[in-house]
């Protein structure tokens, strides 16, 4: 809480808005890392969030590492490393599985 304006000091990134408690926050971060792992692995990247610090670590296979604080920063960093954005509408994510 800011003493001058009466509002919290930082609004935080929008992706952190849904957590109701510290427990939700940690659980959300671990869940987020679980979701990110296969997505980024398909681009040769790995992500690590141990639930402590404020952000998470993005690394490629040659050992290039970068710390990011928010998901927006993560996607920007990933684009810098792989040369194009990670696109959820890329065919690797949207191709139809053989239907039964």
């Amino acid at each position: 809480m800011c003493a001058n304006c009466g509002f919290p000091a930082a609004k935080g990134h929008w992706t952190d808005a849904g957590a109701g408690s510290a427990f939700d926050r940690i659980r959300g971060r671990l869940q987020r890392a679980r979701i990110l792992a296969p997505v980024l692995a398909s681009y040769g990247l790995a992500v690590h969030d141990d639930g402590s610090g404020s952000g998470f670590m993005l690394a490629n296979r040659t050992g290039h590492q970068v710390m990011v604080n928010t998901l927006s920063e993560l996607w920007e960093a990933a684009e810098r490393i792989i040369g194009r954005p990670v696109d959820p509408l890329d065919p690797r994510f949207t191709d139809e599985a053989p239907t039964p």
Binding site: F7, A17, R32, L71, L74, W75, V86, L89, E96
Partner: protein, 343 residues
Amino acid sequence: MTNDPREGRMRLTILGGFLGSGKSTWLRHHLHHVLLQDALVVVNEAAIAPVDDALLIGSMRLRVLAGGCACCETRPALVTLLRDICDDRVGGDVSARRIDHIVLETSGLADPGRIVDAIVTDLVLQHHIVVGEIIVTVDALHGLAQIRDEDLGRRQIETADRLVVTKVDTAEPERLPRLIATLRILNPGATVSGSIMGSPADLPDASNVDPETLPTLGASAAPAPIGSAALDLGETPDWPALTVWLSALIHARGDDIVRIKGIVQTPRGRILLQSVRKVVQSPEILADEPTATDTRDGLLVLIGRRFTTGELVRSLNAFGIGGAVAIEAGVASAAGRPGHGDR
């Protein structure tokens, strides 16, 4: 802590629309309406000598920002002005404390999306202001020409939640349905209503009318048509997974996906998510019980180009959000969109 659904923030309604499209006339009429009666009105004019403020004398509280358009050259001045309003509300004049609603009438040259960007990226304003509705006026007589020739005219329409066709009585009878059909193609997610001198007016039926064929404009105008997708994410979608998916989508496709809006249950409660192009507003925590005007919980509406509803559903699945169901697919479909009071 969450008794106040907006967390104490003021609601900002943005009123945009092309030069001379009837913004001030519409606003003047609505200042006497209950919803806007207590609003503080901020008028931005690109011209150095303002004229719009004379039109708006009915407003008790009026601030004028003249001499440049607030989405680009006078953006810092807009931020300063809004910060002053926030200061007054928190610590200054007692009478100013009651301000709960600001209406910003943009200049006719403004892209409302960039105004949203100015507010949600400002470290002070994001704590004090929540962007509510974006209303865009469209001139019944000149609207079609502006949409055809001006990239800006299209951008204004694409960002709107509500489109108001003004001067309905001046349009040639056969042109008006064509304008309405074109608006529905450009922004299938917005409601479209008619107005004469600010009073509501009926619009003709445009369901069987062909829209105007729009030429490609410049480098920024995309040839692909705009469509919308409505997805039902279920009652309690996985919020962390959804944030991963949405943040990636907005980063990669923010120029194509013009608008995202939805209400999602999270551990913190129901939250209203919205984005305009690449900008996501700090989500608003809503009251626990839905109001009559809320979109349904778990409903996510995306408006933009170069995606299909099927792709979105499969992509959500790939990101660990199973169970998403397409409610209504369709590019350029105008009928029966859930969550909008479209008639």
